[in-house]
Amino acid sequence: MTKIDTSSPESVLPTPSHTVGPFYGYALPFRGGEEIAPLGHPDTITVHGYILDGEGKPLPDAFVELWGADPDGNVPTTDGSIRRDPATGGYLGRNGVEFTGWGRIQTDANGHWYARTLRPGARGQSAPYLSVCVFARGLLVHLFTRIYLPGDEAALAADPLLGQVDEDRRGTLIAVDEGNGTYRFDIRLQGEDETVFLEFR
């Protein structure tokens, strides 16, 4: 039965998740999905990496969504990530000025993705991070993780989530500084050096 009776809380139960399957590629990705930072913004960083399976093979049919605060730690409330063109029905792309904080990026044939976004500011007790949601063929429920940026060791040491993670796995949540504002973050779905994934309660 899929008419939910909202008058009785016990009948309001979650809709189960399913995989995105192999054919989302003509539907979900959009022009400029990876260019989250406003053009020419001085706090722009590049994050990139591979998504790998349990045999270390890259996934050519996965995508990530990034969601993060602006450099002052404020949550963006601006829409316009997937602006449409009413004349052609195609995508206009972002307007290059506003920061929506969100992007969707599919891996290429090598299993690699990249995004340019703004360096997130700290919020609450956490060290600065970008929230990541991973989707792929074969993945029945999406996976959440976080990209922490290296540099501020004190903030990382005080971060409540990083404090919950065993030391030998903590590194999977911290990007590698490659210089020039570029950070590498690989996502390993399974096996050796498996990325730490999160659930929210």
């Binding site: 309001v12 993060g68 309660r201």
Partner: protein
């Protein structure tokens, strides 16, 4: 050795029996599929083996995951929710209307949020270059739509009934007809991608993807209800499908909703 439907049927039955036993032994009802569901072969190397780390959102209301990306009128066009009007001609197939409400776990409507859909055409073929199924493409149907929920959390799509299609999980594997749905809530933690099915599809017992939801009642929540009130005279068949997003949200967002 070729993997047959019989092999997969046995694996599905074993997973189902194992779940029933867990619940009988006192384990909680599982509303979500397990990521390590071997009858769906693509999951085997793509699920984590380590348990996830739990974040108690009540301890920090500032978590960015407790907020959601915003979408607005400029992110959709007027006809994005009508998949039958995106080309010069009419798509082939049985026209359908799919409508329902986007709700949170408290039964409150999720307003002004993005729903995206994609689907195969009436012959069971996706407009995707890597799609190998030898069924005709329809030049008047792409199969992609999006909309923003209204003040009651309601959404509305007009499209054509998708066809079932074969895939290569095992020999003679067929997917029941479905529409893919992607939803945002008031918090990023509520993000959901899933598939909506049609009532009484004879393929349900054979499909390891729908069967990955091992709880019988949870699986039913993926199946739309035929709704004659949604059928449009001389035009389309109506289906009703309400969606409930899981995942915690910021408590302050509850006020006034």
């Amino acid at each position: 050795m070729t993997l047959t439907q019989h092999d997969i049927d046995q694996e599905i039955a074993a997973e189902h029996a194992a779940y029933e036993k867990r619940v009988a032994d006192g384990a909680p009802v599982e509303h979500q599929p397990r990521r390590d569901y071997a009858p769906y072969r693509s999951s085997v190397l793509r699920h984590p083996r380590q348990p996830p780390i739990t974040i108690d959102v009540a301890k920090d209301p500032e978590l960015v995951e407790l907020s959601s990306p915003a979408f607005g009128e400029r992110d959709i066009t007027e006809i994005d929710n009508d998949l039958t009007r995106q080309h010069n001609g009419e798509p082939i197939g049985e026209r359908i209307t799919v409508s329902g409400r986007l709700l949170d776990r408290d039964g409150r409507p999720i307003r002004g949020q993005l729903i995206e859909i994609w689907q195969a055409n009436s012959a069971g073929r996706y407009a995707h270059q890597r799609e190998q199924h030898d069924a005709p493409l329809d030049p008047n149907f792409t199969g992609v739509g999006r909309t923003i929920t209204d003040a009651e959390g309601r959404y509305h799509f007009t499209t054509v009934q998708p066809g079932p299609y074969p895939w290569r999980n095992h020999l003679n594997a067929w997917r029941p007809a479905h529409i893919h749905f992607s939803m945002f809530g008031t918090a990023f933690t509520q993000r959901l991608v899933t598939q909506m099915y049609f009532p009484s599809d004879p393929l349900f017992p054979y499909d390891p993807i729908i069967q990955s939801v091992t709880d019988d009642a949870a699986r039913q929540r993926l199946v739309a209800t035929y709704d004659h009130n949604l059928s449009v005279p001389e035009f389309s068949m109506g289906y009703h499908w309400d969606i409930v997003l899981d995942g915690p949200k910021a408590t302050w967002i509850e006020e006034g909703r």
